[in-house]
Every structure is written in structure tokens, then in C-alpha cells.
Symmetry: C2
Subunit: 337 residues, 2 copies
């Protein structure tokens, strides 16, 4: 039951360490006979190369970090799922690192993370994806990074996003087509670039349908359920009350629904409610929320895959892709009566 190392394999196969190493890494200049001999020994001895030794020799950790600061657990796990899929595929490990964007010493926190864990790269998820201080820090330190769901496209970094503006446009237009004209809007957290994008989409839909934008219908939220409750209170107390509410995410939409229900309002008969993200809660409440679904796993997976693939080889034209967001209609929106 001794440990199987490259040395045992080498002596067992009657070749040098280096030759075994060549076979391991599919390097050329190994005769077919030797290669097969070594491969057979791999199987016989059930050999797995030690990534730590390899890492030391190559000055790599085979670990990438995933940064997030998000109140939505479902979003986080979706991000993780995508990142893990990519890591798995490319024999990397994922280090999750929740931390606060506005926390003390964010930069030095990240610096320490990179130093102590020797990360080979970092995936930034919202709201970090568009946080200039962090991005420029990583760039200055030459830490490879990729950005998920960023709104701002810098021209020299990997970025995979979906179109928030367009999604918000579509769901707003969906409400408009149902006859709604007074559509309240609840903004997300100001640190997230999606907040601005979704607001833009909302305004564009109004404008392109000839509905005048009314500032009084806009509330500031922060993506949390709690903030949704506050915003909902203000909105539902308006006189006249808007006939529809579009909240920038599903948690806030759920909060509107809760408050509306408490106020004996019937959804969607008395008021339509729309959300964003297609979080689990959107289908766990009654009525189910009309919302926008983004391919979060897919985005993250692509971003991480690109990140890992291009570690150590700076690209001329980095991977920048925008994926589709999709309108999902459920019971919380209906035609105005």
C-alpha cells in the first residue's frame, strides 16, 4: 500500500522519471512502444500524478477563485455549478470566495487571497464584474481574470454576459402589450451594473411604445426581499395605483406580491407583477412570477473555461460573448381589465 509516485512508475517500467513525465503530458519524442509500456504501468499501479508537485514545478496551483457578493443563494449556486463544470473539465479546482464589495479593504482582502492561495486566475461575478478598482488592480497585478454578466466591455478581458437591457425591454413590453400603461419599476442595488441596464430597458420599452416616463413610479431597491417590501409599500399606496409593477429581480417581486396579498389585492386581476432572474421563488409562490431567465450556469462555465484555457497566454482578441435572456410568462401578469 505504498504511495505510487512518478518514481515508482519509472522504476517499475524501467524508464526514467522524465520519460514518464513525457507520457503524462502527452509530449512528443516518446516511442510508441515506450509510451504504451508506461501507460500500462499507470493502470497496473493505479497511478495519479500529484498536482501539488506538479504545481510546485510549474509555479501553478490549478486553482481558480470565484468572487461573489450576492444575496441570492440560487444565483450563487448557479454560478458555482457553471464554474465547477468548467473546472472539472479542465482539471482545475474552484475556490469560492464570498466577500463584500463595500467591505473594508476589499482589495487587500483579494490580494491576500491571491497571495496565500496562489490562485491561477479569478472569475468575477456581479457586482465585482464591473467594479473598476478591482478590475484595474487585477490588471496591474497581471492576475488573469474573467468577468461574468458585466455590462461594461473593456476590450482586453474575457467577458460572458447576457443582455439585461434587452430582457428588461422585453418584459416591460410584455406588460405594455397586456394594456398596462402605469408600470412601476423597482431598481436593484446601485453597485450592480445590471441595475442600470434593467432600468434602461424599462425606459426604452416605455419610450418605444409612446408611454411617458413617470419618475414617481420608480423606487430604489437593492435586490433584497426586504428592500422590495419597502418599495412595494410606497408603490401600492400610490393614488392612482399603478396597474403593474416590474421589479428588478424576483425577490423584490415576491415582496410586492406578499404585500399586495396582505392588502387584499388580487394578483394579477388587480395588479400585475413581473420580476427578473427566474429564481426558484418565482415558481414557488402563487401566482408564479413572470420573469426573465438568464443562462447563468452557461455564462459562468464559458467564462471559466476561457479563463483557464488562456492562463499564461495573453490573448490578442479575448473572448467576449453575449448570451440570450428569455421571457418566461407565468400567472402574475395578465391583461388589464
Amino acid at each position: 500500500m505504498k504511495k505510487v509516485t512518478i518514481n515508482s512508475v519509472a522504476s517499475y517500467a524501467g524508464v526514467s522519471k522524465k520519460t514518464v513525465s513525457r507520457v503524462l503530458n502527452n509530449e512528443p519524442n516518446v516511442s510508441d512502444a515506450t509510451r504504451e509500456k508506461v501507460l500500462k504501468v499507470f493502470k497496473e499501479l493505479d497511478y495519479t500524478p500529484n498536482p501539488i508537485a506538479r504545481g510546485l514545478a510549474q509555479n501553478r496551483s490549478f486553482i481558480i477563485g470565484c468572487l461573489y457578493d450576492n444575496p441570492s443563494k440560487s444565483y450563487i449556486t448557479r454560478v458555482q455549478t457553471g464554474a465547477l463544470a468548467a473546472c472539472h473539465e479542465l482539471n482545475y479546482n474552484l475556490l469560492i470566495h464570498p466577500c463584500e464589495l463595500r467591505g473594508e479593504e476589499l482589495i487587500s482582502n483579494i490580494e491576500q487571497l491571491i497571495q496565500t492561495s496562489r490562485l491561477d486566475g479569478i472569475v468575477l461575478t456581479p457586482p465585482f464584474s464591473d467594479f473598476p478598482e478591482l478590475v484595474s488592480f487585477l490588471k496591474s497585478k497581471k492576475i488573469p481574470y474573467a468577468r461574468v454578466a458585466s455590462a461594461v466591455l473593456e476590450d482586453d478581458s474575457i467577458s460572458v454576459r447576457s443582455n439585461d437591457e434587452q430582457g428588461a425591454f422585453e418584459i416591460t413590453e410584455h406588460l405594455i402589450k397586456l394594456g398596462h400603461k402605469e408600470i412601476a419599476f423597482i431598481k436593484g442595488h446601485p453597485d450592480h451594473s445590471a441595475t442600470e441596464q434593467r432600468f434602461k430597458g424599462y425606459r426604452r420599452a416605455l419610450a418605444s411604445n409612446g408611454i411617458e416616463f413617470d419618475e414617481r413610479l420608480v423606487e430604489e431597491g437593492n435586490f433584497s426581499y426586504h428592500s422590495g417590501v419597502d418599495s412595494a409599500r410606497t408603490i401600492l399606496d400610490l393614488n392612482p395605483r399603478p396597474t403593474a409593477v416590474f421589479a428588478s429581480n424576483d425577490y423584490m417581486a415576491a415582496a410586492v406580491l406578499k404585500l399586495a396579498t396582505q392588502m387584499q389585492l388580487r394578483v394579477p386581476d388587480d395588479i400585475s407583477i413581473a420580476g427578473f432572474d427566474n429564481a426558484p421563488i418565482a415558481r414557488h409562490i402563487w401566482p408564479g412570477l413572470t420573469t426573465i431567465a438568464q443562462p447563468v450556469e452557461e455564462m459562468t462555465q464559458q467564462a471559466v473555461k476561457q479563463l483557464i484555457t488562456h492562463i499564461g497566454e495573453p490573448q490578442e482578441s479575448p473572448y467576449q460573448v453575449t448570451l440570450e435572456a428569455k421571457l418566461i410568462t407565468r400567472e402574475s401578469t395578465a391583461a388589464i381589465k
Copy 2:
């Protein structure tokens, strides 16, 4: 901007590598003067030891794995939060590993994980905590492990749990004290040991209050929202309809609430609903769910901390603790009319 290694520190401080290493690890037999000299150089050069090199020398990875297979995203993130806290404290990294208990080749999947990532230990979360095949595999391979929220206490492994049986007892008794006698019960997933425990607590509460157990009031669920919908349909169609439903977790309870609302039943006036876990959804719906809160982060943190602390030193009497679960009453339960 050269790399700072133990060698640079050593030559800069005018001592040997080994002495630097001693200072790093707080080993004895270093004179105060030397120690301080080296410490000063650490600061001046901003030295961070390379965990990969250290790992190679000590045949460790400073990584522990966290296994889960859970439909509840909030549970997963709570587990992660606790595990990360412990890892952080002890300079370890956490490798998350979602996988299916009933998936193909679970054991070889785990074996490969351990082999390729050279994990120093593993935390098992439900339903793995009480999965005998896995536990005995780890034991046979001498992989250190700790179990979170396990029901079965083997006498030689680290285990931190909370009392599911007692929690279920309390919430059932809460319903009974509100005057309910026909209390339906929705079971969880059979692979989770909590399922049996919660059911036991329910029955014990009935028994100790002189209420006869009625098998027709028990439905099989699997902790998913969806399964809750199915169970709810059966229960709410019963004639006479039970006056309360205790679902084994909040997702299923939310499903009962959704269906009840769709059926125009008023909660809690017409029917009381109770859940378990205190998931976010419990307070994101209206009425909020009466439920049981478990200290998931705390459990996991303690388990991981013990695990890491005792890597490489088998214990005589391992850490086994049961933490308190707490009844949280919200609007979904009320006295019978």
C-alpha cells in the same frame, strides 16, 4: 519584483532556510534575536510562504472537500458559509463537491476526487452524513472525515448535529397546543436521516398528547417543492380535511401554502401550516411559515474545525455535539377556531 521565497528571506536575513522555516512554524529553539530579525524581513519583503511547496514537503494539500446533494440552495450556502469560516481560520481551502448520492459510481467518483485533489479530509453533509457505504469507504481508506447533521452516531467519528427529532416534536406540540388534532405530515426524502427523525418527533408529540396516530394523514415527499405540491393535493382533498399540515421542510410547506391559496383556503384561518429549516422562503411568502431553525453554519463550522484540527492525529474520543434547534412562530399557524 522578483518572487519572494524562503531562500530570499534567508539570505536577506543572513540565516539558513531552516531557521526561517522554524520561525514560520513557530517552532522552538530559535533565539529571540534571530526570530525577530527574520520576522522583520518577512514584513520588509512582504513574504507569504508557498502552501504548495509546503504541501509537497508535508504531503498535504491544505484542502478539505465538502460533499453535498441537496435541493435547497439556502442550505448549501449556509453549509458553505460555515465551512469557509472554519477553513479561513485554520488556513485551509475548501473544495465544494456537489454530487448525487444515488448517482452512478458515487464511491469511485469520491475516490477519484480524493486521489486527484489530494484532499486532507472531507465534510459530509446530509444525505451523505448517514450513508453507510460512503462512511465505511472513507474509514477503510483512512480519509479523515466529519459528519454534519447526522442522526446515527458512530462512536469513532467527528459529528455535529442538531436535534431533528426534538425540533419536530416541538413544532408538532406547538400545533397541538393551538388546538389541532388532525395534523397531516409530509415526509422528506428517504435518503436523509432527518426524514426519519422528524417523523419520529411528530409521532412522539402526538403520542405524548394522547392523539392517535393516523396513517392516512402521512404523505411521502422528498423535500422538493414539487413533491410538496403532490402531497398537498392529496392532503387538502381529504375529507374531513386536516386542520394543520406539518411539512418536513419549508419548500414543501410553501407548496402546501401555494395550493391552499389556490384552493381559496385561508391560512392560517382555515388551515395551519408548519415547515422545518427556516429557509429564506419561510419569510418570503405570506403568511410567513412557522418553522424550526437549525444552526447550520455553526454545525458545519464546528465540524470542519474539528476535522482540520485532528488531521493526522486520530482521536480517542472524537468530538460529537448536538446543538439546539429553535421553534420560530410566524403567521402560518394559529389556534383552531
